[in-house]
Point group: C2
Chain length 376, copies 2
């Protein structure tokens, strides 16, 4: 159940009540692809850096260790020792981006595992079954995520099929939630809006899926090659046709600046690999833009990554020490940068929530963006 | 200043008072080669798993980031944010095992850096200067560590040179400790006993260096190829000729069983890469022997690594989850195994100290070894 606490123009400050507790929105989900955040970050660490929701990848977990195994272990929460909400993606995006040779048919997608090449079939029902085995808090609908360069003649039939798939997802999720041995019998389901960069297709699709009364709605297929301006235009065009009394999730986005722009346009949920991926490469976020800690200028810099930052790394370690660890290829250097970056994102979302509550989000956003100096 | 609290036969329970606090012995030093424990383990983690002393490698830090840089940063303690004692090795062992083509002369050793091949010279004075720059709590004397297969005709002149080098180390350390810009003006110096597997050479050398009134004495050149029985024989023969009122350090040793045997023979200090190296390969220590978490039998094992273990990993995560992380090559899996293993070693040393205090070390050792079933 989503509760809209307050708004500032289109920006929403909400709460999603789930079987695993309340999610305060806008929120950034920390991406733990294979039931772990890359960079040696544990669930205990996530508790310490203010993570409210984790995202795990259905396709990865299906191929290893297997969703059946995770079900046997009592579900993803128990498996990784995390009692707050988890959202799982549908597996669709990974199938389309990672897996080998694939055939899309009405029933679903045939493809080869990226691990061992074995043939796998995944359709809406299979995706729901896997996510039900994982027992995540929120399951995502199985959709096709078409290439960003696809033209209308490809996008329209793809979106139509995604709508038919959504109906099958909903029916299957209902059936699974009623089975006696289902772990999470209140698993929520979010639908996904598609339509490439074509506003009219996006809007028609948004209307169609809004009628289906799901627990939330995502905007998919963005941040896959189009410009930021195109992305903002699509969000601005689409969000008004998604139910305001449900959470909105912008999938796979993005930079801190992207998030600020999307919050302003009414988005509640975000996820992105940037903070962990950038951290593993020694790129760290600050309120004055991203720093590359490999740079020689930090060699004897006794300052923390960011003065005043409340993360466990900035409280104790210097840029010079972290740079040394990165140069020496010590895992600890990556861990430090990932911890800092995830904290930076989580903390920015906290600041965003407070700003909307106090109806000063526009000002907050303007100050934050000008601080970044186009470096975040 | 070393204080002998009590003994049980040859086993010693002591305290070494240092400028960075008291070290309770027997103690296991956690090896942080380049000012970091491999496996993404931070100084904060070490505080949480009961680490009393860290060991850092002089040679590694000399080539990267450089001891001059660390001096500029206020010394190793400040650089890595660790206020308890640190022991640095002399660099000698690494020069002999890692560096390229080398020439040993009376003045020291000429060799090539393993990083960039550049020519480096290191003699007793250079080793002391580097360690003084690092500002460790305890510096080790610069010695030659001869190959374990070397015969008497090689060992005797090598040991004689090591004795002459020790006198130069002592003089240089005294000079450095009196310089105005030295960070740790009370840096301690341990001498190193050598002599291969020849008891008479070991004993003569032990007598010679005991006369030099150093802060502690190490037994070097063991665990480099000889059998465990040979190693125990050499320790047993040598320790009686080292001063009892000074700490004894068995360098680079070893397995939990090795440590129990050496404590019984009067050793105070240990260091070894086994717990971290084994951890990175998914091999974890328990009181019933080492487990290989890659084994299929742990696939759905909901138990912690060891029931009742007080480490931060066993309190929360299952063997099945850690195995999954290791299989998926997630750094987090390695971090968990290293944390557990270091805790296991630190905790065993704590148990050893308590057992000697209560004069039940023999019984403790017997029980512990029989639990290991030759698997530790």
């Amino acid at each position: 159940m989503y509760k809209l606490i307050t708004t500032e123009k289109s920006a929403k400050r909400g709460e999603l009540h789930t079987p695993h507790g309340v999610i305060q929105t806008p929120v950034f989900m920390n991406v733990g692809t294979v039931a772990a955040i890359k960079g040696a970050v544990s669930t205990e660490d996530l508790e310490n850096i203010g993570t409210l929701v984790q995202l795990s990848n259905t396709y990865h977990l299906h191929v290893r260790p297997g969703d059946e195994l995770i079900k046997k272990m009592g579900g993803l929460h128990k498996f990784m020792s995390w009692d707050k909400p988890i959202l799982t993606d549908s597996g669709g995006f990974q199938v389309f981006s990672l897996a080998g040779l694939r055939k899309i048919k009405e029933e679903g997608v045939y493809f080869n595992s990226h691990i061992d090449g074995r043939k796998i079939f995944m359709g809406p029902e299979e995706s729901m079954q896997i996510q039900s085995n994982l027992a995540s808090t929120i399951a995502m609908a199985f959709d096709e995520c078409p290439p960003s360069v696809a033209d209308r003649s490809y996008i329209q039939p793809s979106v139509d099929r995604t709508t038919r798939w959504l109906a099958r997802c909903k029916a299957e999720m209902k059936r699974l939630n009623e089975l006696p041995d289902t772990i999470n019998k209140n698993q929520m389901l979010f639908g996904i809006n598609q339509g490439g960069v074509f506003e009219d297709i996006r809007i028609e699709h948004a209307k169609a899926i809004s009628d289906m009364d799901l627990d939330g709605y995502a905007i998919g297929g963005l941040a896959v090659g189009e410009t930021h301006e195109e992305m903002y235009r699509i969000i601005e065009a689409t969000v008004p046709y998604l139910p305001k009394e449900k959470p909105t999730y912008l999938m796979g986005v993005g930079t801190p600046a992207n998030i600020l722009e999307a919050v302003e346009r009414g988005v509640d949920f975000f996820d992105c690999v940037y903070p962990s991926r950038n951290g593993r490469h020694g790129h760290v976020y600050t309120n004055h833009g991203k720093l590359n800690l490999f740079n020689a200028q930090y060699e004897t810099d006794t300052e923390p990554i960011e003065e005043g930052c409340g993360c466990p790394v900035c409280k104790r370690y210097s840029r010079a020490y972290i740079r040394h660890l990165l140069k020496a290829k010590e895992m600890l250097g990556m861990r430090f940068c990932v911890l800092h970056n995830l904290y930076f994102y989580n903390n920015m979302m906290k600041e965003i929530r407070e700003a909307i509550e106090e109806h000063r989000f526009s000002e907050y956003k303007r100050n934050k963006l000008s601080g970044f100096e186009n470096k975040n």
